[in-house]
C-alpha cells in the first residue's frame, strides 16, 4: 500500500442525477403493461370484472415477468430454522398463506421463496384503455352534417396573455421568484406584468356520427351457461366500449327465443329465458325498430346477434333473407356463434354462403375467445 494514500476517505456527493434504478423500474412497468396486453384475451372473459360491473380494481397475476431459472422446489425441500429453545419435532412453525416472521433486520432478501408471480393491480379503466385503443366502430359514415361536429375545450396550455380569471397562480409566483432571485432579492418584492401566466384552452373538434347498436341475444333453452356467459361478456364490453368512446351511440336490446321483444339493459343482462329458437323473430323486430325510430339516412346502424346457432331448421331460409334485408339498411351485420363442441351448426351453415363484406361472424369455442370476437367486429381500419 502506498504510504501517502489515506486509510480512508469519507465523502458525500450529489446523487440527484443518478436515476438508474428508477429508469429500470420504468422499463419493468412497461413490461408489466405489455404482459397485461398479452393477457387481454383472458382478462376480457374474467368473471370478476364482468360481475363487478366494472367498478373494481382487479389483480392480475403476470407470470411472464417471473425471472425464471433452474431452481429447487422449495416445497419439497427441507429447511433449517431456529426456535426459542423449546422447539419439538412436530411443531408447526408456519402455514401456507401466512408466511412466517421475516428474518432479522439488516438481512438481505435471503433465500425465502418469493411470491410465485408478480401481481399487478389494474383498474378496469386502465384495462379498457388498453382494450379499446385497438377498437373502433367500423365503417362509420357521416350522417346529417349539423349533428356531427362536437366541440369541446381543454385547458392544456400556459400563455403570457389571458383572462385574469384564468390566471395560474403557482406559475406566476414561480416566475416572480425567479425574476427576483436573478436580481438578487431573496424574497419576492413585487409581481410584474411580465410574470403573469395564464391557463389557456384549446378547442377540440371531432366529428361524431349518430349510431345505433341493435344487440340481439338468443335466450332460448338451448343456450347453456357458457353460451349465455360468452354472449353477455361480449355485450358487456361492447356497451362499455361504445359508452366510453362514442357520445352519441344508442343501444337497443332485443332478447329472443321463439319470439323477440325489446328489453331494458338490466333485463337483457340478467334475465334468463327458455323455449325454442326462431332467430328470424329477432331480425324482424330489429327491422321494425329501425323502421320506427332509426332512419338509415340519420343513423349508422349496427345489428349484433349472438346465438348458439341452434335455430329451427325451417326458419333458416327466412333468417338469410332478413339478414340481407338488414344489411341493406345497416353499416354492417355481426353474428357471433357460441359453439363449444364445434358441432355442425344449423344457422352458421345457412350463413356460410353469405357473400357480403358487411357480414361479419365470429365463432367462439371458449371463454377466452370473446376477445377475438371483439377485435373481429370492432377492428380498426387498416389493422
Amino acid at each position: 500500500m502506498n504510504m501517502n494514500e489515506p486509510l480512508f476517505i469519507i465523502s458525500r456527493e450529489d446523487w440527484s442525477l443518478h436515476r438508474k434504478g428508477h429508469q429500470d423500474q420504468l422499463r419493468h412497468l412497461e413490461k408489466v403493461k405489455e404482459a397485461i396486453k398479452k393477457n387481454l384475451p383472458d382478462l376480457v372473459s374474467e368473471e370478476n370484472i364482468i360481475l363487478s360491473k366494472g367498478k373494481d380494481v382487479v389483480k392480475i397475476p403476470i407470470r411472464s415477468l417471473d425471472e425464471y431459472r433452474i431452481r429447487y422446489n422449495y416445497n419439497k425441500n427441507q429447511h433449517i430454522g431456529q426456535g426459542n429453545g423449546d422447539s419439538k419435532v412436530g411443531d408447526v412453525i408456519a402455514r401456507d398463506g401466512e408466511p412466517g416472521k421475516g428474518p432479522g433486520k439488516g438481512q438481505g432478501a435471503g433465500d425465502q421463496p418469493g411470491v410465485d408471480y408478480y401481481e399487478a393491480e389494474i383498474t378496469v379503466e386502465e384495462l379498457e384503455e388498453m382494450l379499446f385503443s385497438e377498437m373502433e366502430l367500423p365503417n362509420l359514415q357521416q350522417k346529417q352534417q349539423d349533428e356531427i361536429i362536437v366541440s369541446d375545450i381543454r385547458f392544456n396550455d400556459i400563455r403570457k396573455k389571458g383572462l385574469m380569471g384564468n390566471i395560474d397562480k403557482k406559475r406566476t409566483l414561480l416566475e416572480a421568484i425567479k425574476r427576483n432571485a436573478q436580481n438578487g432579492f431573496k424574497q419576492v418584492q413585487n409581481i410584474s406584468e411580465d410574470d403573469l401566466r395564464f391557463k389557456t384552452w384549446e378547442e377540440i373538434v371531432y366529428p361524431h356520427s349518430n349510431a345505433v347498436i341493435l344487440a340481439m341475444m338468443d335466450t332460448s333453452g338451448s343456450m347453456g351457461i357458457l353460451e349465455k356467459y360468452v354472449a353477455r361478456s361480449f355485450f358487456f364490453w361492447m356497451v362499455r366500449f361504445l359508452r366510453t368512446r362514442y357520445e352519441k351511440v344508442e343501444v337497443v336490446f332485443i332478447a329472443h327465443h321463439t319470439e323477440a321483444k325489446e328489453v331494458s339493459e338490466e333485463e337483457f343482462f340478467t334475465k334468463g329465458e327458455s323455449g325454442g329458437t326462431i332467430c328470424s323473430s329477432a331480425y324482424r323486430k330489429a327491422l321494425e325498430i329501425i323502421g320506427e325510430r332509426y332512419s338509415p339516412s340519420l343513423y349508422n346502424i349496427y345489428p349484433f346477434h349472438f346465438s348458439d346457432g341452434d335455430n329451427l331448421t325451417s326458419d333458416n331460409e327466412r333468417c338469410v333473407k332478413l339478414v340481407k334485408e338488414l344489411m341493406g339498411v345497416s353499416n354492417m351485420f355481426c353474428y357471433g356463434e357460441v359453439n363449444q363442441y364445434n358441432r355442425h351448426s344449423t344457422l352458421m351453415s345457412a350463413y356460410k354462403h353469405m357473400n357480403d363484406s358487411k357480414f361479419k361472424y365470429a365463432i367462439i369455442r371458449e371463454k377466452g375467445e370473446v376477445y377475438k370476437a371483439l377485435t373481429t367486429f370492432f377492428r380498426k381500419e387498416g389493422t
Partner: protein, 470 residues
Amino acid sequence: MSEMMKKLERAVDEITEIAKGFGLDFYPMRYEICPADIIYTFGAYGMPTRFSHWSFGKTFHRMKLQYDLGLSKIYELVINSNPCYAFLLEGNSLIQNKMIVAHVLAHCDFFKNNMHFSKTNRNMVESMAATAERLRSYEMKYGKEKVENFLDAVLAIQEHIDPGLTSRQFEWKENEPMPKDKRVSEYHDLWKLEEVKETKEENDELQNNRRFPPRPEKDLLLFIEEFSPNLEEWQRDILTIMREEMLYFWPQIETKIMNEGWASYWHQRIIREMDLTEEETVEFAKLNSGVIQPSPTSINPYYLGLKILEDIEKRWDHPTEEEMRKFNRKPGKGREKIFEVREIENDLSFIRNYLTKELVDEMDMYVFAKQGNDWTITEKTWEYVRDQLVNNKVNGGFPYLLVKDGDYLRNGELYIYHQYETIELDIKYLEKTMPYIYFLWGKSIHMETMIEQRKVLFTYDGKKCHRRFL
C-alpha cells in the same frame, strides 16, 4: 464540513486504529454517504455501476417499497474492491455509523484475506462500468429489445458456471480420448488416481464412441459461449461479461454465513473498545440484537456465523484434556484459530467442520418441511440438521447441472444432466427456463432429472416442452 461529518471522521479514525490493533487487514476505505434510493439502487444491482436490466428495476422497486413502508432497511453496502467502497445511508445516527464502519472493516478484511476471494477482480467497479457502457453501445447498434431478450436468456442460467474455472479453459480437450469407464459417476475423478495407460484396441473402440464434451462440463455459460453455433460476436461478449460477473459474486454467495459472522463478531469487539455515551450504549445494544435476531423459518447468517466463530474461539482458548493430548492443542489459541478459519474456509466447510452438537442444541436449530399445508419441524438430531444445512449450501444453493452431450443424437442437440441429490427441481420453472437455453443454443434442449425417485427427461424442441420417464 458539518459538525456531524467531523464527528464521523473522528469516529472512523478511532475505529480504524482499533481494527488495525486487532490485526484486521483491509484495503484503503472509501466511505460514501448516500440517500436511500441510491443505496437501494446499489443493493438491487449488487454494484454501483452495473448494466441496465428490468429485473434490477423490479428488485429496486420491491426493496425501496419495503424501506418506504418501514419493513426493512439497509444500513450499508460494501463492495469487494481495492480501494474498498462502503456506502452509508444518509440519516444514519452516529452510533449506527460507528457500528457499520466497524462491521464494514471486517467485511473488507474478509474480502482481502479469505482464499476464496483470492482470484476476484478487485477493479470490478471499473470493469462493470466499462461493460455497462459496452452493453449500452450494443443496445444502440442492435436495438434495445434484442439486447434485452438476450440478457433475459443469459440471466436465466447465470448461476451455472464452474467457479473453479477462472482461466476460461475447460479441463478437457476437444479430442481427448474418452475415459475408460463410460459410466460417469460423481466419484468419477477418484478413479483417475489408479488409471492405467489404455491399450491400443481400447483406444480404437473409444474413438467410435466419442462424446462431446469428453467429460461432463459444469460451466454451462462457457460451454454455450464456446460451442453454440448461432451466436453473434456481441452475444458471446455478453456471455463473457455475465460469466465474469458471476465469478466475481460467487465467493460472496458461498461465504455469506462466515462473512456476516466475521463482521458481526468484529463490530461487537471494536465497539466494546470505544467510549460510548449511555444513550449510544443502549442504541447499540438494540441495533446489535436486531441484526443477530434468529428466525424460525430461515437461518440468520449474522447470528449463525457469529455463534460458530465465538464457539471456535472458546474451544481453542480452552481445549479439553483430550484435545490437548490427541491434537496437541495449546490453550489460548482462540484468536489465532478464527483468523485461520476466516482465511481458508467457506460456508460449506465452516459448517461441516465447526457446527457442533452443543451449538445446534443451544441455538435450538431444527429441520422443517412441508406437510400438507403446514410447515412442520421434522428433525432435531444435530448431525441431521448440520448435514441438511450443508446440503442446502452445495453449489451456492443452486442445482448442480452438467452438460453431458453437446452433440446429442448426432444432431447438435444439448443434453444437460441434473445431478440429483435429494431435492427435486421446480418443474414449472424448469419448463419455463428451457426455452431460454434453446434460444441460446439454437437446437433442442434435453434435461435429465428425477421426479419422485424416477428419472425423467425434459425436452424442449423450440415449440413445446415435453417430458418422458426414462
